[in-house]
């Protein structure tokens, strides 16, 4: 039986690719979340705070995966 982890791409090229996409996700997250610094409209805050946080968290997870897993492939 093949482990699901073995289906994930690994290796230096995969790590670089994942890191780049994670970094872009974090850039997007920073821009989205920064909107909260310029407006206090409740509806906008309710949208941008979770969305920006999620994008930054996804980038962090990508970084975590790349440095822990992908390099070991």
């Amino acid at each position: 039986m093949v482990s699901p982890f073995q289906l994930l791409p690994s290796g230096p090229d995969a790590a670089a690719r994942v890191l780049r996409r994670g970094a872009l996700s974090q850039v997007a997250g920073v821009f989205v979340l920064s909107v909260a610094l310029f407006t206090k409209m409740p509806l906008i805050l309710v949208v941008v705070i979770p969305l920006g946080g999620l994008l930054i968290a996804l980038g962090f997870l990508a970084w975590l995966w790349a440095v822990i897993w992908a390099e070991s492939g």
Partner: protein, 193 residues
């Protein structure tokens, strides 16, 4: 000041992340990984936490609560020149943090009280934008003595004041929420048209 610092930090993070993506086109080795610890790990996490604290602080302010039209009258009642009103007497005499008066008095104590306040706030946002608020606003649940007691509970004028000595069990009853503070102190917001 806090907003300025956060904006500058956001710019620094974006620059570092863009530099990192350029780095990663040529190598994914040791230097890039070390750089990524800062650019993708520590700084974004720190900034995210700071932003959440900042946003949470902003959303506790009176100006935020009163930004919705349903709250205009309640916001104005903070300044009413009538000491019989609990709201006005607390606000005008600085008995609560003026910037966060609404949050202070309408949040039950403890972390669960904080969570409950956030959930109710989300509900109010939904009703404001997608629903219809009732003409006359009412509390969703009876006002809890615990909110009063978080400030007054250990105060001398509460424990030893004449008004709280009879019956003898009154203070215990207030603490147990069997008697409401509002039975005697019953003037809250004085709403003016």
């Amino acid at each position: 000041m806090a907003a300025t610092i956060l904006i500058v930090l956001a710019a620094v993070i974006v620059v570092l992340l863009v530099v990192l993506t350029r780095f990663l086109r040529t190598q994914a080795g040791g230097t890039a990984r070390v750089f990524s610890v800062l650019a993708m790990g520590a700084l974004p996490a720190l900034w995210l936490m700071a932003m959440l604290v900042y946003a949470d602080s902003e959303m506790k302010k009176v100006s935020f609560c009163t930004s919705c039209h349903e709250m205009y009258a309640h916001g104005n009642s903070l300044e009413v020149d009538d000491d019989e009103s609990l709201v006005a007497s607390h606000y005008r005499n600085n008995r609560v943090d003026r910037k966060k008066a609404c949050y202070t008095c309408h949040t039950n104590p403890g972390f669960l009280g904080y969570l409950d306040a956030k959930m109710r706030g989300m509900h109010d946002v939904r009703v404001h934008y997608f629903g219809r608020a009732p003409e006359e606003l009412e509390l969703v649940e009876p006002y809890r003595n615990a909110v009063c007691l978080k400030c007054h509970g250990k105060a001398e004028n509460f424990l030893e004041g004449d008004g709280h000595q009879y019956p003898e069990t009154l203070i215990d009853d207030l603490r147990a929420e069997e008697v409401s503070c509002l039975e005697c102190h019953d003037v809250g917001h004085i709403l003016e048209d």
